[in-house]
Amino acid sequence: MNFSELLILSWKAIVINKLRSFLTTLGVIIGVFSIILLVSIGSGLQGYITKEISSLGPNIIDVLPGNSLATAFGPGSSNKLILQDARNLKTRLISTAEVSPISETATNAKYKNILDKNIYVIGTTSNYPKTVISMKLAQGIFFTLGQEQSGSKVTVIGYTMYTKFFDKERAIGKKIFLGNQTYTVVGVAEKTGITLGVDHDNVAYVPIVVMHSQFGIDSITEIAVNANSESLVPVVKKQIKDTLLKRLTTDDFSIQTGDTLATTISNITNMLSLALGGIAAISLLVGGIGVANIMLVSVTERTKEIGLRKALGAKRSDILKQFLLEAVILSIGGGIIGIIFGLAASFTLSKFFVSQVTLWSVLLAFCFSAAVGIVFGMAPAIRASKLSPIEALRYE
C-alpha cells in the first residue's frame, strides 16, 4: 500500500466520525495554541525590553552596586557604592566620559492642596542630561552646576508630576514640597512614558547632595557613565574598574554596558518564554493522551475491520501504518488549527500588548504535535497490528 492510499484511508476514517475527531483534536489545538501564544508573549516582552535598553544609546555604561544584576536588585544586598566613588570616576574619566551618580528614594510631594504620596526622587548631578541622553526638557532648564554646588533646593519634575500638580500651567519658579522641604521647580522633563506599569514621569530630579542630606542617604543606586564614543567603551570600562577597585572589591559593584544588560535581560526573558512554553506543552501532552484514548477506542471498534483486512492480505505493517497515520493526521491537523488560532491571537494581542510570533515556536509546536501523534498513536497502532485475523473476524 503506498502512502497516498494510506492517507486517503486514514482520512476517510477520520471524517466518518467528524465530531469525535474534532473533540479529539481539540486537546492538541488548545495545546499548540497556548504554546504559540505564550511564547509570543515571552518574545514580545523580550523584544520590547531589548528595544528599551538600546534606546539608552550604545555608549551607556551602568555601574551598579553588587556583583550582578540579580544581587543589585535583590533584597538585602549591602550597597557599598557611595558618592565619593562617583567623584573619583568623574575625575578619572574627565577626558573619556560623562559621569553622573544616581540615587533614588520614594517620598511624598505636595503643591498647594495637591498631595502625591508616591513620588520618585532622583538625586543626580547637573550633567545628567549629558550622561543620560534620553533626558530632554520640555520647559526650563536642568539645574546648574552652580545650583548643585551651592546646595540650592531646586528640582526638575517629570511630566506626570507636572500635569498632576500644575495642570499644564506654568511650573517654572513654583515651590513644591518634596518630603518636608520646599524645592523650586527649574525645569519640566519631556514625557518618556509608562513601561510595564512603571511610570517614568512621576519623578523629581534634585541635586544629589541636597537629597542625601535631606533623606539621610549615603549610598547611591547607580553611576551612569556615557563614553564619548562607542570605541571608547572598553577603555572606559577598564578605567572604571581600576578606579573603583582602589576602594572596593570586585563583589561590590558590577559594570553593565547596553550589551551585557541586554544579554542578562534576554536570558531572563528566554527563561520566561521557556517556562510559559513548558506549561503550554503540558496541555499538549494532555491532548496527546486524548488522541491515544480515542485511537484505542477506534481499534477496539474496528477489530473486525482489522481482521478482515488481514485476512485479505494486509501485513502487520499495513495495519500499523494505517492507524499510526490516523493518529498523526489527528494531531497534526490539531496542530495546524492551533497554529492558525495561535497566530491570530498573537497578532490581535500585539495591537495592545507586547506579543511577537517566533518561527521557532511555530515549528516547535508543529513538530511537537506530530511527535504527540506518533508517540501516542503508536501503542494503539501496535495493538491493532498484532490482532490475530481469526480472533478479529470472530469479534462482534
Partner: protein, 228 residues
C-alpha cells in the same frame, strides 16, 4: 503458472490448542489433496474441527505439526507476513457473515485485496467494476452494504474473492445467512466459477448444500472420516 496440479496437499496436519492445563486436539492426522478444478465440500457438526481446518487451509492459522503445500509452496512454517502474502495471492474468501466494510461501497470493498497486492488504482477499480457487473451488481457499484440485500452482499464478497484471481476459493458457510433463493444463487455462482476452472473448498453443515459439490469430506472429532 505453477506446474503442480495439487492446489492443496496436506500431510499429517495436526492442530492442538494448548491452554494452561488443557490440551485440546482440534485436528489430528489430516491428509488431504485438492486437485486443480476440484469442488470439495467439508462437512461436520459444530466442534468437529471444521473451522480449524478452514483456518489452516485459509492460512489464517498455523498447524501444530504436519506439512501443508498450497499451490506448490510449503506454507506450514511461514511467518505472519508471509502468510498474509500467500493468502492475498492464492485464496479468495467467502464468509458466512460477508465481512464487508460497512462504510465502504461495493467497489471499495471489492478492491481491498488488490490494494494489498499493490495493484494500481485505475486498474483495480476497472477490475472490480467488471467483476461486479459479471455478478449482476452493475446497478449497485456505489452502494454500501446496508443498502443491499443479503444475496447481493454475498455476491460482493464473491467479487472480492475473485479480485486477485486466486486459484482457490474458500467458502465458509456461504449460504448460512441467506434465504433459500439467495443461497441457491450463491451456489450457482460457485458452480459456475468451478466450471471456469476455479478450485473451490466449501465448508458447510448443511447436507443439501454439500451435495452440490463434486466431493464431500466429513470431519468428526478432528479426523477426516471418508478420505478421498
Amino acid at each position: 503458472m505453477k506446474t503442480t496440479d495439487d492446489i492443496i496437499k496436506m500431510v499429517d496436519i495436526t492442530k492442538i490448542y494448548d491452554s494452561l492445563d488443557v490440551k485440546t486436539v482440534a485436528l489430528s492426522d489430516i491428509d488431504l489433496v485438492v486437485k486443480r478444478g476440484d469442488f470439495i465440500a467439508i462437512t461436520g457438526r459444530s466442534g468437529s474441527g471444521k473451522s480449524t481446518l478452514m483456518h489452516i487451509i485459509g492460512l489464517l492459522d498455523n498447524p501444530t505439526s504436519g506439512k501443508y503445500v498450497l499451490n506448490g509452496t510449503d506454507v506450514s512454517k511461514l511467518a505472519e507476513d508471509e502468510l498474509a502474502f500467500q493468502r492475498n495471492k492464492e485464496i479468495g474468501f467467502v464468509f458466512q457473515q460477508f465481512n464487508l466494510l460497512p462504510r465502504s461501497t461495493a467497489v471499495e470493498n471489492v478492491i481491498l485485496p488488490a490494494i494489498y497486492a499493490g495493484v494500481g488504482s485505475k486498474e483495480r477499480t476497472e477490475k472490480a467494476v467488471e467483476l461486479l457487473t459479471e455478478l449482476g451488481l452493475e446497478d449497485h457499484l456505489n452502494k454500501k452494504p446496508n443498502q443491499m440485500s443479503g444475496g447481493q452482499q454475498q455476491r460482493v464478497t464473491i467479487a472480492r474473492a475473485l479480485m486477485n484471481d486466486p486459484e482457490l476459493i474458500l467458502a465458509d458457510e456461504p449460504t448460512g445467512n441467506l434465504d433459500i433463493k439467495s443461497g441457491d444463487d450463491v451456489m450457482k455462482t460457485l458452480k459456475a466459477l468451478n466450471k471456469e476452472g476455479k478450485t473451490i473448498v466449501l465448508i458447510t453443515h448443511e447436507h443439501d448444500i454439500a451435495a452440490q459439490a463434486k466431493k464431500i469430506w466429513h470431519l468428526e472429532d478432528g479426523r477426516l472420516i471418508n478420505k478421498p
